[in-house]
Symmetry: D2
Subunit: 149 residues, 4 copies
């Protein structure tokens, strides 16, 4: 799968003349939903099927700054998944220089439309399979992108 | 009624070192919902009652710039209302100097939960009354720029 | 030139389950800066050269709603330009159905770093030329809705 | 010091019908700048004095959901500060029920205008004193959950 690309917009900058730190949380979401779509489990479809995937926690380390008109690549990686909980990791790099901008994590659970915890394994085995197959696979990039860990 | 107050936040600035122009549209909404709440028709309650009030158009004139930590006052004024359509006007001024920052307008209609046009007069006479009484009353401030309560 | 593409993100939706109206103002900006970059006058470079291009006014008509994961195309068009003032028009359409979502306008002036009005014709003839050549050219799309490159 | 109050806005909700998780990061910033202002070190003044205080990391635990028109209180607390690094903790509670919504942390450093690390103790002893006196003082609220002024 390809990393998700985002070009930093003017409205995302602040008066420090760099991208405001809150936007990276949104870029994680952009990358995660793109990742899910590529994997065959688009989040919009999951919601239509009655599954809500809220964010339980987020953390973010700001390593270097992104400037207006820079394009970044967001690498998404499912660290762990058991059908009840999911943890994702992200790495945001400058597209041109590959310099690291930000790393982070989000953790998620799965709810039904009454906001009650569900197990994907029991309730939605097809979705369970999609995520389970991606778990722990750092297969986001080919050899020439050389971003193994 | 009191004007709505908003203090410009760091994340609302951009690298021009002023508040990004898109935020004023959001401040209009903040002021409009506060105005509706003060008037006895909180938007949250209207939605619970099955009324949706989307924005049909917006316009905004940027007259002077707002900087980080400035507090502005947003004056909201119902220009016209007939139960089917509503037009609101806004004036945003610096709280301290009363200098004009932005003026603008939004127009709205009223929908039911199936996104179909409704007439408040027929379907929700209590809400109709609230808005009708405020229509055209520019009673937000007296001559000296102070406002009645 | 190609229209600018934007995929509606989850964080751009509101509890009406559609894209919040304020985001279209941001999509105008995304499209305008992309347009300027394609035209050979990237806004980041203009700022480095000491030119600031603030928004003087914006207007927006909301015709139909955009939902999460929809991709829209934003067509940008310079309606008028004289080196002192510039007016841009936008048309946002669903990428798949070409249904109109939003139309709008922004007007701009040109400032130097001391926030004083400048004439691009006098101060930056190269930039003047770029915008002047695009003025009034509705060459974004041919009759069938397809666009030239 | 008083906790910072924020009323959840419509544009802060998403189609899950709750406040989008990225906004809490912005509310941390709102609370932190308000806290600094109350403490006598307004961030705007610090920037004017040539000090930049970027965010080095952020973490956030989402415990319960905030809905449109809910008012929350954000408690800010300086966990550690040595003039070079600062760590802040936040607790966001519903104003009415005092139910916890979100807890989180941010860590910061201090830069000069050339984006180089500085020590507040050496370069800005007055600011150093302000933050040092607040360090570790969990004096925001007494046992009953009410706060001193």
């Amino acid at each position: 799968m390809r990393p998700y690309e985002h070009k930093a917009q003017y409205y995302e900058t602040d008066q420090m003349k760099v991208v405001h730190h809150s936007n990276y949380i949104r870029w994680f979401e952009e990358a995660r939903t793109s990742f899910m779509e590529q994997a065959g489990a688009p989040y919009g479809k999951m919601e239509q099927d009655g599954i809500i995937v809220p964010v339980r926690s987020v953390s973010c380390d700001y390593i270097s700054m992104t400037r207006f008109e820079d394009t970044v690549e967001v690498y998404t990686y499912i660290e762990s998944f058991n059908g009840i909980r999911m943890k994702c990791r992200y790495e945001i790099r400058d597209k041109k220089t590959k310099e690291i901008r930000v790393t982070g994590e989000t953790s998620h659970c799965f709810l039904n439309e009454d906001y009650q915890l569900i197990s994907l394994k029991k309730s939605f085995p097809e979705y369970f399979k999609v995520f389970k197959e991606l778990e722990g696979k750092n297969n986001l990039y080919d050899e020439e992108g050389k971003q193994d860990e």
